[in-house]
Each structure stands twice: as C-alpha cells, then as structure tokens.
C-alpha cells in the first residue's frame, strides 16, 4: 500500500505494508541513514526522530500511524534553533565517541531544549535516560545540554 509521509519539509510516497516501522522507511526505502537502528523495541533511543516536534522512537512507529504528521530527522534538526544549539554544544564540548547513538541523543536533547529552555538535571535524566550510549558519553551529554541551555539564557 502506498503512504505519503512528510519528512524534513519534503513529501515522499512509499509503497510498503502499513505496519512497517518508520525507521526502515527512512533508512532502507528513502536512504536517509542518519537515523540509526539499535534495538527495534524502543529500548535504546538510537532511532529517535521528531514527530510534530515530539521525540519519538521510529523503530516502533508504524508508517500507517503517521497521518499528516511532520517528521524531522537528524539530517534536518540543525535547521531548528534548538537543534542547532545542541549540535554546536555537542561539538564545543566534544561529546561524540563512536558516534552511532548520537543522532538519537541529539534528537532527544533537541526536543528537550525546544520544550524546556532551562532543563534541570532531573529534566535531563527524564528526557535522556531512554537513550543508551555504550561509549558512556553521558557525562558530556549532560554538560553539553547545560551548555546549550546557557546560550538560551544569553538570549542566543
């Protein structure tokens, strides 16, 4: 069956079963490989995208459930103010190691910052604990989110 999905401002038509997870439509059908596969059960957060601005695990989100929603992926998150701040903070604070989980981390952090410009440590825990990093970049992720939030304070 054919579905129309809106991703990063563009409309795409895909012919897959309705229960196909968005993750595989992005990666395998549309070739947008920035969104990563980690567990397939919404346990690790590597596949996080924004659906109408809300951080969502694309590995368990069926294509038929999307309706007219706007999807944003790592490829375009830098075009949002929060996403750009998070990416900059990630670079300034040298967060990444192997980098594989970082698309998902950045998507979760961007959604957090967009909805909560000054998150507390508890807010960061709540928003980020669904994202696993095997390289253990948690300490720097927390610091980078705080750094990005400080730029909010400065009106940036």
């Amino acid at each position: 069956m054919s579905f129309t999905v809106k991703i990063n401002g563009s409309t795409h038509s895909v012919d897959v079963d309705g229960d196909t997870p968005l993750l595989w439509v992005l990666r395998d059908v549309l070739g947008m490989t920035g969104t990563k596969f980690g567990c397939g059960m919404a346990l690790c957060g590597a596949c996080t995208v924004h659906i109408d601005g809300v951080a969502t695990r694309s590995c368990i989100t069926s294509i038929e459930s999307l309706g007219k929603s706007q999807i944003t992926t790592i490829e375009a998150i830098g075009e949002t103010p929060a996403g750009a701040k998070i990416q900059k903070a990630w670079l300034d604070h040298e967060v990444v190691q192997c980098g594989y989980c970082q698309s998902g981390q950045i998507m979760s952090a961007s959604a957090l910052l967009a909805s909560n410009p000054h998150p507390s440590n508890a807010d960061i825990d709540d928003a980020m604990s669904g994202n696993i990093c095997r390289c253990g970049t948690y300490v720097r992720i927390r610091e980078a989110i705080n750094l990005a939030a400080q730029t909010n304070e400065k009106g940036g």
Partner: protein, 724 residues
C-alpha cells in the same frame, strides 16, 4: 577529511606508486584502488606526489594524506594519530587527510600485536614511534629537496606550517612545490624526533576530526552502506550453539510484502527483502525447526562447575616469585577466596552487520571492522577466492569493544550472499546480536594469601580457569598453556609481593565462542586482584589505601596515582550512612591508574554509583581530552558490567535477548567522573580499556565499605546486599 568508505584491493598494482621510497620494495600488493571520501574528496595518488613511506603521501597541492593503519571506533585515533604525523611534519592538523590502510599485514601490522588490528589499547603505543618517524623522515626529505634547489645547506633551513624556510634569507617553499624533488632524495637512515619541549600539537586538546559528521547524521558506518540495488537480509541462527536447521516452512514469510528470498544455511536461515521491516516481518513468519545438537542441555552452572573443578588441579605457571607455599606455611594469617566473572556480550550500539556482493569471480564487502586483513582472509576462504579478489570497504565503527576484531559476521554474510543475486546487506537484530555474540569468557579464580604478624602479604597464590581468546585468534601467541592477555593484571603486580605463584588453566566452554571484550584479561584479573588486596587490608584491619601504599616502594608511578586519587577523592573523610568509598590500583595496557568509587547501597540492596575519581599516568599525553573521554567511557562500560552485565545459558540457549534483559547503564545512573592526569614524558601507555577493568573492583570495594558485604561474583547481586 575522514574516510567513511574506502575501497582497496590488495593485489592491484596498476596504480603508480613509484615514489614509495624506502619501504616501497616491500609493498607488493596493498595499493589503493579507489577512494570514496564523502567528507572531503582525496586526489588519487599521482605521479608527482611524494610518498616516503607507507603512511604518508604529499601531493603537489601540499595535501598530506595519512594512510591510517588504525580504525576509529570512538577512541579518537582518527585525531590522535594524525597529530603525530602533523607534529613531526610541521603541518597543521587541517592539512592532514586520512585514508584507511588496505589489508596488508606487512605494511600495516600493529608493531605490538604483529597483525593489522586495532585493539588491546595499543594504537597509540604502536604508532608513537613509527608514525612520528614517518613524519620526521618526510620532513627531512622535503628540507633536503628545498635546500638542493636553493643550493644551500639543509641545516640552514627550518620548517613551519607546511613550508620549508631558508633562515638566513627568509626564502620559503611550500611542501607541495618540492614534492617531485623530495621523492628523489635519499631516505635518511636516522631521523631526530622533536623533543617534548618543542611539541606544538602533541599535548593539546585538538578537536576531534570525526565529530562534525557524527552530529549531523552524515557519518557512515558499515550498516549505512547502500551499494546500488542492495537488498536487506536478517537472520535466525541456531539458538543452541552448534545446532542445525531441521526444517523450514517459508510459506508465511514469502507472503510478506517486500520479501524476496529465503536463504537456508546449515545452521541459520536468512530472509532477504527490500527493507529491514519486511525482512524482520518475514523472519517472524518463518517456521523453523532446529536440531539442537549436543549442547541442548548446556547451562551456565555446568560451565562454572567445570571451571571451579579446574582450579583444583594445576595449570600453566604464569609467574613465580620466591616460594609461595613455604611462605604460606609460615604465615600468621591465611586468607582464601574464590571469585567468578560471567560471560558478557559486547552490545555495540551498531548491531552486527555486513554487506556483501559476490558475483562469483570476486567478492566485495562493506563493514566496519577492527581487523580488515582478518576479514579479507576469512571471507576469501569462505568465498573460495584468493584474498586479492576480496575487496573490503571499511567504515567508521559504531562500537568495537573487541567485537569487531572478529570476522564471523563477514563469513556469515558471504554464506548468505552466495545465494543472492546482487548485493545483500545482512543486519543482525539486536536479539541475534546479543544471543550470537562471541562472549567475554567466564572465569573462575581461586586465590589465597598468607600475612605476617604485621598484616603484610608474605605469600600470594592465584589459580584461575577460563577460555583463552588468543589461542583461537592468534594461535602462535598461545604458548606453553599461556597467553599474554589471559594473565595480564594477574602477574607483574604493582605490589611488592616476595612470594607469588600464579597459574592459568585453559578451559574452553563447550560450543560457546569467546572473544576479546574491552579490557579482556584485566577485566577479570584486576577485579580479582584488587578485590583480594582489599580483603587482605580488611583482614589486617588496615585502611585500604594505606595498606596498598605500604606495598608500593618499588612502584613509584603506582604510588603517585594512588596518592593523587585518594587526595582528590577525599579519602578518609566521613560519608553518610549507606555510602562507601572503594579504591582500585592497576597497571595494565602500559598505564597506571587509580580509581576511587563512591557508592550508595540502599536498604533494598540497590547500588548507586555516585562519583568516580581517577588518577592516571599514561606517560606522554597526546590529547588530554581524549584521555579524559576514554576514562569516562571505560568507567561507564565497566560500571555497566559490574551492575548488570551477565550472559547466562539455559538449555543451550542464551537467556538474554535485548536491552530489557541485558541492561545498560543509562544517563540517570551515570556517576560524576573526575579525571586527574599525572604529567609525564615517558612514552604513551594505552587508554581505551584501562577505565573498564579498574572500575569493577573499585565498585565492589566501595560496596564492601558501604555495606560490609564482600561481592566475589559479578555482576552485583542486590539480593545479597538487602538489609534483613
């Protein structure tokens, strides 16, 4: 700047590399055939480039290309190794572009391993001298070429930012302008390396070169390979190791939209589809009957019992000092214990995957791997082709931790690709990735010590049993019942122990593949040794730091890190009830590390790691930010294992499946981590694994301090810590 996808073909000698001087005669195969650098296009080798050795090529545009023998899996090698070249060559880091080295054990073997692999925390240790020498050699030849053109003495020239400068006249030549002549200069027999005082780049917090692509989704890992027309496959392998497929009913799977093909192998079934969603759905619809084979009843308890039994016999002597038996007999106090550590999965965030195109007369492979020459050799064997007919495209690695030192995934993908027209990407589900990992070995240790009337250890005896990964992976390194990895951390202890006897008994678990896992031998030995020395301190009724310190007169670097960690952690200062500090001290991977962990144990027995303070002496620090990052990383990795890591078997099957049953430490559980680095001008030590092995005993010792309970088996069992 960073190569994500690079093709190479070992046998291809068509490309002219006439300017390979010095080592060029040894080259034979191993030439770059094609490049695909999405993050910055590199020019193919051309006739006017200058390549004084196997690592460096400088084009007439002045671009320095480093042929990188080590892979990037998060540990920062794609930044720290170029720093070595750039330092000695006097160019900025921005001028260096990377190409991944082709499979060529002769040219690109890690000098410390003897094979072309990135592991054992020794990329920097292996690269430190040869790559600086490579840079210095190139620099001297460029200077010689410029001096010759000017008709001046080379000694009157210096170099700076990619230029040769004639000091008396101020004349300058860019490197690119003299590459053609430099290629004909004699290769200097001896090169003088910069003294540490002259370092401009080494020792600085240079920014990671791979970071920009990793924050915007453009970095390409093996799993992102998409050769034209690629199909996606996923697989089910025999749930019992050594089992076989008995029957397959593919009716349901074939009816799934997007499923193209079912591939039946002896011990696995793969579903090939247009996308992974269809492949997974098809796999779920397959009805597979398995013949479980001889390991159908195997359980972890049986394996542990066998290892325990083995420690009652005798093993290969790893180290003997003095006469431990005699000293034991004269001891005032005797302390005995046994320790166990479990099988562990790697659970790299990028699940196992490999893409293969196998049009019979050659085989093309896309993956991310720590040992490309091994991949090429094993894939060639499976494909029935000579190695030079196997093209390997290596990628950035989404977590290695030793898992990607193995080529089992490539072999499996070749088996599947034999049956598929066109390229096929085989992607393991997380469940397959965990259940068919090659596991960190289970080890059982029997350890004892005899103390004198002052509580000092007179005698130390340790016999442990487990698998030797080296015996399978690098057979020549397993000699006389021993291999250097299995015993690291159990011998050559930092402590002054006058009578010591350590034995290893190799026992392979039936049917279960074992492999390297971040910090491997030390991941087990340091846990045992540092827990047991804590037991001795307790038996002697002495402070854990003071007890260790008194045994360190022959290990000044160990004493220095212990003192620093204790001071920074506030060792000895009071903590609230339910909290405790534990210390560990380690020499492993060529570096000294002390850690103090602070934990909280709840009434229910839940353990929370609050804070970790480290003091590190890893010799010369090439990039302090990388050292800090690797310690943070290693500590989280080890803490995850200490709190949660355990692979168990029941009826021959791995019981854990995904991150719900094989848990990872998460953001809300991550401790604060402080890293203090001891200044040193000694050669660099290894960094990637040290944090992992040292944190486990620090946590166990902190739990003891907090609760009075000594945990001798990992992972932490909260039920043992629950207050009655």
């Amino acid at each position: 700047m960073i190569p994500d996808r690079i093709a190479f073909r070992a046998s291809d000698t068509n490309l002219s590399r006439r300017s390979f001087l010095g080592t060029s005669a040894a080259i034979g195969g191993g030439l770059i055939l094609s490049l695909n650098l999405p993050l910055g296009q590199s020019k193919a080798a051309n006739s006017d480039s200058f390549a004084p050795n196997a690592f460096i090529r400088i084009g007439s545009d002045g671009q320095v290309v480093l042929t990188m023998p080590y892979v990037e899996m998060g540990q920062g090698t794609y930044t720290s190794i170029p720093m070595l070249i750039a330092e000695e060559l006097d160019v900025s880091l921005k001028q260096v572009r990377l190409e991944h080295a082709p499979p060529n054990e002769k040219l690109y073997a890690n000098p410390l391993l003897g094979v072309q692999a990135t592991g054992n925390s020794n990329a920097m240790r292996g690269a430190w001298k040869p790559l600086r020498e490579a840079g210095a050699t190139a620099r001297m030849m460029l200077v010689a070429a410029a001096a010759k053109r000017w008709g001046v003495d080379a000694k009157s020239c210096r170099t700076q930012d990619g230029e040769v400068i004639h000091v008396p006249t101020g004349r300058r030549l860019k490197y690119g302008e003299v590459v053609a002549e430099a290629a004909h200069m004699p290769v200097p027999g001896n090169v003088t390396l910069k003294s540490p005082g002259d370092f401009k780049l080494i020792g600085t917090r240079a920014k990671r070169l791979d970071a920009p692509a990793k924050v915007n989704g453009t970095a390409l890992y093996g799993i992102d390979a998409r050769p034209a027309g690629v199909k996606i496959a996923t697989l089910a392998q025999s749930p019992v190791f050594g089992g076989r497929v008995k029957s397959v009913d593919a009716t349901g799977a074939k009816a799934v939209k997007g499923v193209r093909q079912i591939v039946r192998l002896d011990d696995a079934v793969a579903v090939v589809a247009d996308h992974m969603g269809a492949a997974k759905k098809g796999l779920a619809a397959l009805k597979i009957e398995w013949d479980d084979g001889q390991h159908a009843k195997l359980g972890t308890e049986e394996i542990a019992r066998e290892l325990e039994q083995a420690t009652l016999g005798s093993g290969a002597v790893a180290q003997n000092i003095g006469d431990a038996d005699k000293a034991m007999a004269s001891a005032t106090t005797k302390v005995e214990a046994s320790y166990q550590v479990p099988f562990l999965a790697h659970a790299t965030m990028e699940p196992m995957n490999c893409t293969v195109h196998f049009p019979k007369d050659e085989c093309e492979i896309w993956l991310g791997n720590q040992a490309v020459a091994r991949v090429q050799a094993m894939a060639a064997k499976e494909a029935g082709l000579p190695p030079e007919k196997v093209i390997v495209h290596n990628h950035l690695i989404g977590g290695g931790f030793g898992r990607r030192l193995e080529a089992d995934g490539a072999v499996r993908a070749v088996q599947i690709a034999k049956h598929v027209d066109g390229p096929v990407k085989v992607v393991w589900t997380r469940e397959e990735d965990i259940q068919h990992d090659m596991f960190r070995p289970y080890w059982f240790d029997r350890i004892s010590a005899g103390l004198d009337d002052q509580g000092r250890p007179l005698a130390w005896k340790n016999r442990f049993a487990g698998s030797s990964v080296i015996a399978r992976w690098l057979p020549p390194a397993f000699k006389d019942g021993l291999d250097p990895d299995s015993i690291e951390g159990a011998i050559d202890l930092v402590y002054d122990l006058p009578n010591l006897h350590v034995e290893f008994v190799r026992v392979e678990p039936p049917g279960i593949p074992t492999a390297f896992w971040r910090s491997v031998g030390p991941s087990h030995n340091v846990f045992v040794t540092e827990s047991f020395i804590d037991e001795l301190a307790a038996a002697a009724k002495q402070d854990a730091v003071a007890y260790r310190r008194a045994l360190l007169d022959k290990s000044p670097r160990a004493k220095a890190v212990l003192d620093l960690a204790a001071e920074k952690a506030g060792w000895g200062q009071a903590l609230p009830k339910g909290r405790g500090r534990g210390v560990s001290l380690q020499f492993a991977f060529g570096s000294w590390l002390a850690q103090v962990a602070e934990v909280e144990v709840s009434k229910e027995g839940a353990v929370r790691i609050r804070r970790v303070v480290c003091a590190m002496d890893c010799g010369t620090v090439v990039n302090p930010d990388t050292v800090q990052a690797q310690l943070q990383s290693g500590i989280i990795f080890g803490a995850t294992a200490a709190l949660y890591g355990e692979i168990t078997l029941k009826n021959g099957r791995v019981e854990q499946t995904n991150f719900d049953t094989y848990q990872m430490l998460r953001m809300n559980e991550a401790p604060s981590i402080e890293v203090h680095i001891v200044k040193s001008s000694e050669p660099p030590g290894g960094m990637g694994e040290t944090g992992t092995s040292a944190i486990v005993p620090a946590i166990a010792n902190a739990i003891y301090a907090a609760s009075g309970k000594r945990l001798r088996k990992m992972p932490v069992d909260a039920s043992l810590l629950k207050q009655a």
